[in-house]
């Protein structure tokens, strides 16, 4: 056996965990090799030094300290501090509560902005439905000169208001509201201010009127519609009526106004001065009535 091999085996040799054959070989080598013998001595000494390391004594307080730690572990953790700082008892509940609060806050915010979200959508929707309906109805011509831009915007703004109110008052019928919007021209015939006023009041008035479901219709034949319109409107104002709308058709005009039923008789009398009025039944009418005045052009007929 070579020196290198022998030296590798020396540890096992010392321990006695070497096979008999190898032991023999090592012995053989050792008898003749000074270096390896010295090495063996070194190895033995090394082990000796390590084995001779003295045991150290544990400090006297060690047992007591350990038992103190054990006992605090054994106790149920009812200490407030421990309860507070124990992660699962405090951290998780706090986190859970936080998540819950966030969820609640989000829902609350969402609910708060929900109505606004809905409302801003309605005008768009209604306008969209408007446009096709306008086109469908034949002869539905809008009489008006192009109103000033700001006025229009104002009206549009009012429209939104109106729609809001309409949306809020469930009884206000949609068709009524639609008609309103179909008439951005409102400003044409009557002054803008009064019209906008009327517009904002109209839905409510209409609501009232509709609730009572009473519309009083009148037909008047005139020679000149345009003049007649002016005159009729004057009359209505005189009688403290509220002109709700003015519609233009191919061969007639229709003015819808709100008027006290008591004034109806007067209205009819005055209308007779303007043109030929077809009488209508006045009985059984109470309060503010929605009056629908149809203005027709007299056809030139020789009777």
């Amino acid at each position: 056996m070579e020196c290198a091999d022998t030296q590798k085996k020396l540890s096992a040799y010392i321990e006695g965990v070497i096979s008999p054959e190898e032991r023999m070989l090592v012995n053989e080598h050792l008898t003749s090799c000074q270096e390896c013998s010295a090495f063996l001595a070194d190895m033995r000494k090394t082990v000796e030094y390590v084995q001779k390391l003295e045991d150290i004594e544990p400090p006297p307080w060690l047992t007591q300290k350990v038992m103190e730690n054990i006992k605090s572990e054994a106790k149920p953790k009812k200490g407030i501090l421990q309860k507070l700082f124990y992660p699962l008892h405090i951290k998780l509940p706090i986190e859970a509560a936080a998540v819950f609060l966030i969820a609640v806050a989000v829902l609350y915010i969402f609910k708060t902005i929900q109505p606004e979200v809905k409302l801003t959508q309605i005008p768009l929707e209604e306008i969209k439905t408007q446009i096709p309906s306008k086109e469908k109805i034949p002869g539905f011509v809008e009489t008006k000169p192009v109103p000033a831009q700001p006025a229009e915007k104002q009206l549009l703004a009012k429209k939104t208001e109106v729609t809001e109110k309409v949306a809020e008052s469930p009884k206000a019928p949609l068709p009524v509201a639609k008609e309103d919007e179909a008439r951005p021209s409102a400003g044409a015939v009557v002054k803008d201010e009064s019209k906008t006023e009327v517009l904002s009041r109209a839905p409510r008035a209409k609501a009232l009127a509709e609730r009572k479901e009473e519309i009083f219709s009148l037909t008047i034949n005139v020679k000149d519609i345009k003049t007649a319109i002016k005159e009729i409107e004057k009359v209505l104002i005189q009688l403290n009526g509220q002109i709700i709308k003015s519609e233009s058709f191919e061969n007639k005009e229709v003015i819808t106004a709100k008027l006290d039923s008591k004034k109806l008789k007067e209205l009819i009398d005055k209308l007779k001065l303007i043109g030929e009025v077809k009488e209508k039944d006045l009985e059984g009418l109470e309060g503010d009535i929605e009056t629908r005045i149809e203005i027709l052009k007299t056809s030139i007929q020789l009777q």
Binding site: A12, V17, D42, V50, L53, I56, E57, L62, V66, A74
Partner: protein, 202 residues
């Protein structure tokens, strides 16, 4: 010797049963019985007395907490010492992060903190000089042991210092006996070289 070992094992087993049922006093008996050995294992592995004391405390607390997991068929001491070995390893890693170890760890401040250490007095009363010499040598030897890599150090401590059998060491370190032996033999060569460097002729 084996008989004695067997008896202590049985005693341990008895006390373990008591502990499992919440008998804290039975655990105290176990603490008193095993603390010295545990401290020595920890100390020789870590090289710091203070850290070794802390590790031993932690080890006992850990053992108490996990008593329910201990299978009574197994040897309690092996199980207990495994805990202290693991905790010592962890502590060592923490310390190594703090200050890297160099080969010449003899200058390491760790070795000067021996004021707390009480050593078991030798049966024959050596002279002061002899005692000082001995202390000096022991410091150097411990220094060399500290300079070993962790794996080598473990087997040297358990085998040459604590005298555990290969079987027991294999059990504690969870490695095969063959590995224990090869690590040990390699470690001894390194130690020899180190001691020769440090002490001159050995």
């Amino acid at each position: 010797m084996k008989e004695k070992e067997q008896r202590t094992e049985d005693e341990d087993a008895q006390r373990v049963s008591l502990c499992k049922n919440g008998d804290v006093d039975a655990f105290e008996v176990l603490v008193k019985k095993h603390q010295k050995r545990m401290l020595n294992i920890a100390y020789r592995m870590i090289g710091s007395y203070e850290d070794a004391c802390e590790v031993v405390q932690d080890a006992f607390v850990s053992a108490f907490k996990n008593m329910q997991n201990f299978e009574e068929r197994a040897r309690f001491s092996s199980w207990l010492y495994t805990i202290v070995i693991n905790l010592s390893r962890n502590r060592l890693k923490q310390l190594e992060i703090k200050s890297y170890r160099e080969d010449s760890s003899l200058n390491d401040p760790v070795f000067t903190d021996e004021s707390q250490i009480t050593v078991e007095p030798a049966s024959d009363e050596p002279s002061v000089l002899e005692r000082l010499e001995k202390r000096d040598v022991q410091k150097k030897v411990q220094g060399c042991i500290n300079s070993l890599d962790n794996e080598s150090r473990e087997v040297v401590v358990l085998r040459d210092i604590q005298g555990f059998s290969y079987d027991e060491i294999s059990d504690m370190l969870k490695i095969p006996e063959g590995t224990v032996k090869s690590r040990l033999f390699r470690a001894r060569y390194t130690l020899r070289d180190c001691l020769k460097r440090v002490m001159g002729d050995i």
